[in-house]
């Protein structure tokens, strides 16, 4: 079986971002970047499936600038076998990302495609679902457990009402949630070894896809500030505050 994992390089999730004063975006220069946390869970799941004998090859693909090589190297150090960087300096929309990934799926023909459920920068939560549509494959989003059962996958999904288990015939698309696994930290020898694994760099233009954005971003603004609050000294005071607030509430 072949597994393809799509990974994204994003502003590190520990960085508190700032909106640029001119409203054109957020400050990303000089900010620490790393692999999107959800993508790490996707890579870990792929490597675990491979280690359990379900994947002969784990291929990772990232779309972004040349510097996105570093997240591919991280994935190779975690145990993926081969990397593809689709190089572009443009800010691509999720539809364009999905179309590029669909081309890779057509070339590589993987049995399973794993993605993160969302990227922590843009928080879109689109790409896996869009790729599933473009490749006409069944999908299981927000996965917290993945099992190979014969020619199918059994996936536990985290949904609004709790959890549910889907059975998907292969080939299929799965997006990873945070409780899927605990991503490994690659040991130094693996990091060294990653540098010798194949990594193809291909310009996005090579795929012949219209990458022009559909949506126009008018502005990016900071959210409204909250006023710093007060402290009460006793439980009775807190109870009075809560009781007063509750009695002021409009009945729904």
């Amino acid at each position: 079986m072949k597994i393809l994992v799509a990974i994204k390089r994003v502003v590190d999730h520990n960085v508190r971002i700032r909106v640029r004063p001119d409203g054109t975006g957020v400050e990303t220069s000089g900010v620490r970047m790393s692999m999107n946390p959800f993508c790490k869970h996707a890579v870990e799941a792929a490597v675990q499936l491979s280690e359990a004998g379900h994947g002969d090859e784990v291929v990772v693909v990232s779309i972004g600038p040349r510097t996105a090589n570093d997240v591919i190297l991280t994935a190779l150090a975690m145990g993926a076998h081969r990397g593809i960087l689709i190089e572009t300096d443009a800010e691509l929309e999720t539809l364009a990302i999905s179309k590029l990934l669909a081309k890779v799926v057509a070339e590589e023909n993987p049995d399973i495609v794993l993605l993160g459920k969302q990227a922590v920068d843009d928080d879109s939560n689109h790409v896996g679902q869009m790729l599933a549509a473009l490749t006409s494959r069944p999908q299981a989003t927000f996965a917290s457990e993945i099992k190979v059962v014969g020619q199918a996958l059994e996936v536990v999904r985290e949904v609004d009402s709790g959890r549910e288990t889907l059975s998907l015939p292969l080939p299929a698309i799965v997006t990873a949630d945070l409780r899927l696994n605990t991503p490994r930290n690659a040991a130094l020898p693996m990091v060294m070894k990653a540098r010798s694994k194949p990594l193809a760099v291909r310009p996005a233009a090579e795929f012949g896809i219209d990458l022009v954005p559909r949506l126009k971003i008018e502005k990016i603004s900071p959210p409204p500030e909250r006023m710093a609050g007060k402290t009460v000294a006793t439980v009775a005071d807190l109870a009075a505050f809560i009781a007063a607030d509750v009695s002021d509430m409009e009945a729904l």
Partner: protein, 309 residues
């Protein structure tokens, strides 16, 4: 300029989010609601009562993404907008439908400025993006908690569609969280507990306070990961987004991923041993102290204060 809304439902009832989605999009045009369920009748009844609804369409089948994509694709030609709540169903289906139609969706909409102008949060709510969508058709998911529910009292006609919705995927089990507390995403009061609770048994302290206040229960990812609370109680960037009138955060530090889920709360109360915790800094009212001492006293004091819910 008509709108099709995909209904959210659970346990055979229309979910409260749907009324808010209808409230949000009825400014865009007359609304038809699509109910897809094994037994759509009762859900369709509730949908038909919502103000702004012109017609309710029903189809039998399960709500899996590939099947819904196929059904929605055929229906979409009649509409300018297709919308659903930004809950797990809408997130699963709408981007898939959009890609099928070669459209870019606008998701997690928190404000509608006009027929093609929308706000959506990015970077865990630390920035808000205003986008113009000039595509011929608009695929939207709506953050229900950012809008008020549509009124009721309507009686829109209900029309059953032919055929059933079929998917390549199949649902083989559901594991529902049994709870009689209100829907978290739309609740007026939420009591949230963090990893400081220390065990699932202790988490019942949160549940008893929630019961007293008629509140929904929230939890941090750390509390869910530790097994103190079920996954569908998680509030934050990767959990549910809430916007209650009152959020009471107990033993929660206020990591930015958690704050992403509570920015819409009107008032925030924090109970924490650490006066420097980010959530204490942000709260409208905080009490510094040990939750294990405070909650039992608070329950008694609320009784004394004559709280009625």
């Amino acid at each position: 300029m008509s709108v099709l809304v995909l209904a959210d439902h659970g346990l055979g009832a229309l979910s409260p989010a749907t009324a808010r989605v209808v409230g949000a999009v009825s400014t865009l045009g007359p609304v038809d609601i699509l109910v897809v369920a094994e037994n759509p009748a009762a859900i369709a009844q509730s949908a038909s009562a919502l103000a702004g609804v012109a017609k309710v369409l029903t189809a039998k089948g399960s709500s899996l993404a590939d099947g819904l994509e196929a059904l929605l694709e055929t229906l979409t030609v009649r509409y300018r907008y297709v919308a659903s709540s930004a809950g797990s169903l809408g997130k699963d289906v709408m981007p898939r439908l959009a890609a099928k139609l070669d459209l870019m969706p606008v998701t997690d909409v928190i404000a509608i400025h006009g027929p093609n102008s929308f706000d959506r949060p990015i970077y865990a709510g630390n920035a808000v993006q205003t986008v113009t969508d000039n595509q011929p058709r608009h695929i939207l998911t709506i953050r229900a908690s950012a809008f008020r529910p549509a009124a009721t009292g309507n009686a829109a006609p209900i029309e059953a569609l032919d055929g059933t919705v079929v998917s390549a995927a199949s649902l083989i089990a559901t594991h529902r969280t049994e709870s009689d507390t209100p829907d978290l995403a739309t609740a007026q009061i939420v009591v949230g507990g963090g990893v400081a609770l220390g065990s699932a048994e202790n988490f019942q302290l949160i549940e008893s306070l929630a019961k007293k206040l008629g509140a929904a229960i929230g939890a941090t990812r750390a509390a869910v990961d530790a097994g103190y609370a079920p996954n569908d109680w998680q509030v934050g960037q990767t959990g549910k987004i809430i916007a209650p009138d009152l959020y009471i955060a107990i033993g929660i530090s206020g990591a930015l991923q958690h704050l992403a889920g509570i920015q819409g709360a009107k008032k925030i109360v924090a109970i924490n041993t650490d006066a420097e915790a980010p959530l204490v800094k942000l709260a409208d009212m905080a009490l510094i102290g040990d939750l294990f001492e405070i909650i039992p006293q608070l329950l008694a004091e609320l009784d004394k204060a004559g709280l009625k819910r």
